[in-house]
Symmetry: C2
């Protein structure tokens, strides 16, 4: 990549369920906050990258969401790229913005991730990956898949239900310190273990909620950083997105994650030992445990023990998907917001002390080998 | 932009109505042909950019179309970017691919544009821009808007129905020489003028059809060109995409087109006088006339006369949307296929002699000032 790419500002609004909100109303606070944080106005934005996964099917806005929300905050006559990659949509928008800047075409790109899963149009319909309707109808939804992952991880590595519960307890505690999290209440191990079963062995609190939300980030080139000032800028040192075509015969690993994180470590010039803080795709408690391993934060099979170790506190300080929530397209950008806030030392009661290097991970298009997407970003202060 | 971007190969399959075809079956011939034309295999592709506008709403494949069609032809474990920009979706994918290469991230990017408007899921539903359901229900669909454009152009500039009909006659004659065109039959001026009225003064043959189709192109860096050989490569000298926020008080011009083409001429270092061949967004006959003017191919108000002049034969030699057809996401890439074929001198009976510089133009998100998209590409042999 030619030239560095910096995060000049970030913004996010409370996640939750806002079925009657317009998409513009959901996005506006995040966009306004990100521009204010970067010290720029709408006229400074050269291009917009917008990640959403489901707005066509849920809100009948398939092509034009980015234009709509950008126009709403006063951005005019710039390229708007709407990108879609399942749960990795927000991260794909971040990747596109990085390329747009590194190519020399654009100087300041506003990235927005957005989703409204509670919207009326979707009520009564299962929310699963595209093209998975048949599987969903027979019950093979994401919780069922991750239930299988959990069973297999238990069988191979002796991972316990208490270790899975530790992830939920940790992330709900973190979310309780994050004012924009969908859930503000903590949970005990007993509450997690005693919750209604969703897909054996996973219970209700092992599964992330659906919800609505938006997050935004302003990315800029070296020239933009110099021009706009960037005392608090954080460098986007790597941004890798891969998809598709995995023949996965092992339920306890995600090959696209392994490929993407390897490339990202190489691009950023860091290894897993240097990661001070991470946001990972904890759609399920067992998923976070598998991700520890695939990302190299611990050895294969040791994810359960890692979940109960002190180092796990540096993973998902935002509360993650389990607590902050998971409005699909918003998640990848929300992770960037959290990491930039952490690396600036501005995370208040949830600050990971002294964090200099942060890693974000999202995975999308679950279990469909042909379409699974993984995205890894590395941020360096 | 740092470094040149080249079109190493192109492919397209017949456009038409194939309501029972799978998306993979629609895309496959175009992808296979583009890779064969470039002399590469699936393993040579570093990334995929896929433009579609409606697959979420029509086929319930919103996020994963690019992965699906890439996987089908053997492409594995690369980034796949699905981009959406109404009728400009294919051109937005081309723009993304250009940035991906110019950024240094990718060497060989496969671009695909795809749409299946005749699919069962969409039967009985009007096909108009996102968020336009209310306007569509009261009859304010694209033909109605372009009917107003035609009325105003007639009033201001004395443009005649015969001049509009000349566009349809010309493009249907061109399509009759293009084996992949949706329509293979010619029309006379009398047939166009005598056709059933759709929206006064426009008749049936003033309006492009809906349909299905796919087109593909392989883009590469200087290094890829050197490595793969590129005797027939064509340079993508400019690719500009803009969207949104136009306050348009003049029905006879599209400000986003004027902005985009100005930027594209500057980027490519050419002016309208150097354009030997053009593919423009002739969704309606009057649209092509307005585009002549906005693109600088003739002076304001002279588009009607231009339509009847010999120079008009160098616009839409493929048959354009009116004859080749308009599967939304496919159109922008189909234009690239035609121009590359023309600049190589391989267009057979529809060859524009000696063409060295080609321009492609698409416009999307009609009349919605907040979301309208324009994309201009310039190709140089």
């Amino acid at each position: 990549m030619s030239g560095a790419v910096h995060v000049l500002g970030v913004g996010i609004a409370p996640f939750g369920k806002f079925p009657d909100a317009a998409l513009t109303a959901l996005a506006r606070p995040a966009l306004v906050a990100a521009m204010a944080d970067a010290g720029i106005g709408p006229g400074d934005v050269d291009a917009v990258a917008c990640g959403t996964a489901r707005t066509g099917m849920l809100q009948r806005r398939e092509s034009g969401v980015g234009q709509l929300v950008a126009w709403d905050v006063g951005i005019r006559r710039v390229p708007v790229y709407n990108v879609k990659a399942y749960c990795a949509s927000g991260a794909a928008a971040l990747s596109l913005a990085q390329m747009a800047i590194a190519s020399g075409r654009h100087d300041v790109v506003l990235v927005v991730g957005l989703e409204q899963l509670s919207a009326r149009a979707g009520r009564g319909r299962p929310i699963t990956s595209d093209g998975m309707e048949i599987e969903g109808d027979i019950g093979f939804s994401p919780p069922a898949y991750f239930g299988m992952v959990a069973n297999r991880h238990q069988e191979l590595y002796g991972t316990t239900r208490e270790q899975m519960a530790a992830v939920a307890v940790k992330n709900r505690a973190a979310g309780a310190r994050n004012p924009i999290a969908q859930y503000a209440d903590r949970l005990s191990v007993d509450q997690v273990l005693g919750a209604p079963r969703v897909a054996e062995p996973l219970g209700l609190f092992d599964c992330c909620p659906t919800g609505d939300g938006a997050a935004a980030a302003v990315l800029g080139s070296d020239a933009a950083l110099a021009r706009l000032g960037g005392r608090r800028a954080v460098r986007l040192a790597a941004c890798v997105h891969v998809a598709g075509g995995y023949d996965n015969h092992d339920l306890t690993t995600f090959p696209s994650d392994v490929q993407a994180v390897g490339a990202a470590y190489e691009e950023a010039g860091v290894g897993p030992a240097e990661i001070d803080v991470a946001e990972v795709h904890d759609a399920f408690t067992i998923a976070e445990i598998v991700h520890y391993e695939d990302l190299g934060l611990c050895a294969k099979g040791e994810g359960g023990a890692f979940a109960e170790s002190p180092r796990a506190a540096s993973v998902n300080p935002s509360g993650g998907l389990l607590s902050r929530g998971h409005p699909l397209g918003a998640t990848g950008v929300a992770q960037a917001v959290e990491l930039v806030t952490q690396l600036r030392g501005e995370a208040g009661p949830r600050q990971v002390e002294g964090a200099k290097v942060g890693l974000a991970h999202v995975a999308g298009g679950f279990m469909e080998g042909d379409v699974a997407s993984s995205a890894i970003s590395v941020f360096v202060r």
